[in-house]
Symmetry: C2
Subunit: 341 residues, 2 copies
DNA sequence: CTGAAAGCGCTTACAG
DNA sequence: CTGAAAGCGCTTACAG
């Protein structure tokens, strides 16, 4: 089946392509009669404008690029949802790419998106990535660009983040409010900013409550896994330091802690309370249900797209654009693992 | 920064656009000297062909569309990974859209992709979707089309599936092998093919083992949720029919069953064994660890893209194309919830 | 109110 | 080996 074109409609109606185009775009300088004839025939032929031609003329693709380290994480799929939905609402489609935490791949993918001439790029950096040339090339070409979650502070673009320090402080405060006196922290890897910030938040909360910081109560993950949680739980029981609350870097690890405590018959939260971070699905279906910090992933996606849209509009209208950083609110979700009876 | 064009290169070098184009595309009828001059200048100017113009000329976008019900599911993110990676390897980019299980949205999204003139579409249907007009319109326009996972048999397109009947049979056989005598099935919604096939597999396994089918042992989900699993677990205990094994449509629901059994002190698997389907992350971190059926999600994505590529090539070369169905192997993952002591 | 014309940036059949 | 020309399908400034 051949696709209908403006030309075909024009020929059939014995009018010019110009007039057909105007009629379909509701330009005011077309007679009602002509407009009706055109729209009727367009409908009949299932005419839709050839987007390749439109792109070429308007120099816009109404498509944006999205690069993330991995969708598999529950958090990222939430963000992806938000971006795609908000983009669709605004007439944009989203090309998705995954760097799999590889700087090499990430560079190639940025080049692909630039060649594709997407109208903008949203990105969460791979762990290896920082202020590299490929990112600079985006900014140099003045392609609208937004970073989210795993960002580089060195790159002057709009950003969407959460306040990890504050969120961690609130989590630890929650444990304190529940009556915990000796609170351990299972922290993340050394490098990532959010791991560092959550650790700082933990310390600040202790300080604020006049609890002395004790570095022997901090356990550093070698990997972010269920098994790592089991291991530290075991260690904590063996050491028997009187710990009565644990703030864990992320839910997956916290679930490992709970699994071991369950096995050993430790009463959670009455003997030891546990709070995680991220509000994964798994935290709601584990027994006891895990208290955690909710990151608004969908909203993060929405915010990221809207920042991008703002920049795309500014660039198009040749107006000055100033990068913004949006920090989204997190929320403590108190469930069984901290609500003492 | 203005983008370099063929015209600019031609002007600077005092040759024709035609020759520049040919030189860059390694046509044989260009002198070595000219070719070198062209490639050198192209490099210097960071020339990349304007993809909008290329699309218009070649009538190809080197972009495919992907519609899935939800990325949040661990299974779908695996498939998405596979599709994106394999597409990238072959020079294609992927526009992703989510139907959120809404037929309405799905229809709009198909229209968006058609208007966008993607080179092909890969899709997993929403639960409400079947042999609807929007799908037919894809086939009528001869847009290469591949279905995966949640497919409609009525639609004559290539498909990538698992053999749900066989997988379900194996799951139930596993329960029987573990000594279960009275096996219940918590089945999925009425419409989806995989829900139907798993139910058929359940019946076949019983039949094969000479166990009479008892429709009162089949529980039909109204929604695929944790809560639904809790509810049926409660009902099963109340009815007290002597059920000693349950095959559950998917892990999320199975986890709900386990949660309720844990709460009531039911010994799993010794009193009642439970097996799920899909091998979600959550099934490995729950106590007891959930036995399940592993679906090869990444491989499914790779296979789906390759089937699509095959069709895209055939269409382009105007060769006849015949739809194929690829069925991937599943595997029983036996964990604590079925391994009786 | 209508339409001829230029042009977006490329590709390719054709002539020389 | 090189290039003029047509054309992909649209948009829009301009003339009438």
């Amino acid at each position: 089946m051949r696709e209908a074109t403006l030309k075909e409609i024009a020929n059939r109606l014995g009018i010019s392509i110009t007039t057909v185009s105007k009629a379909l775009k509701n330009y005011p300088d077309v007679s009602d009669k002509t407009r009706k004839a055109v729209t009727a025939l367009a409908e009949e032929l299932h005419f839709t404008p050839n987007s390749f031609a439109v792109n070429l003329r308007t120099k816009e693709s109404k498509t944006i690029g999205l690069i993330i380290p991995e969708v598999v994480h529950h958090f990222f799929s939430g963000v992806v949802n938000g971006i795609i939905a908000e983009a669709e609402k605004n007439g944009y489609l989203v090309i998705m790419l995954q760097s799999n935490e590889s700087l090499e791949l990430e560079k190639k993918q940025v080049a692909l998106l630039i060649n594709k001439r997407v109208d903008g790029i949203i990105m969460s950096l791979s762990n290896e990535s920082n202020n590299d040339a490929h990112i600079k090339s985006i900014l140099e070409k003045e392609i609208p660009f937004v970073q989210f979650d795993k960002i580089s502070k060195l790159i002057p673009s709009s950003k969407v983040i959460i306040d990890d320090q504050k969120a961690a402080m609130e989590a630890v405060q929650h444990l304190i409010d529940m009556g915990c006196k000796k609170i351990a922290h299972i922290r993340g890897l050394d490098n990532p900013q959010n791991s560092i910030d959550r650790f700082i938040g933990y310390k600040k909360a202790l300080e604020k409550n006049g609890i002395p910081f004790d570095s022997s109560l901090v356990y550093s993950c070698k990997s972010i896994t269920f098994e790592q949680g089991v291991e530290f739980a075991k260690q904590i029981l063996e050491e028997d330091k009187g710990i009565d609350g644990i703030f864990v870097i992320t839910d997956l690890v916290a679930v490992g802690v709970l699994a071991h405590f369950n096995e050993k018959g430790i009463q959670v939260p009455n003997q030891i309370a546990v709070i995680g971070f991220s509000n994964w699905l798994v935290s709601q279906v584990i027994t006891p249900k895990l208290s955690t910090v909710d990151q608004p992933s969908y909203e993060m996606g929405v915010a990221a797209f809207n920042l991008l849209l703002e920049e795309m509009i500014c660039r198009k209208e040749q107006k000055p654009f100033e990068a913004k950083t949006v920090a989204l609110e997190t929320a403590i979700i108190a469930r069984e693992s901290t609500l003492k009876k």
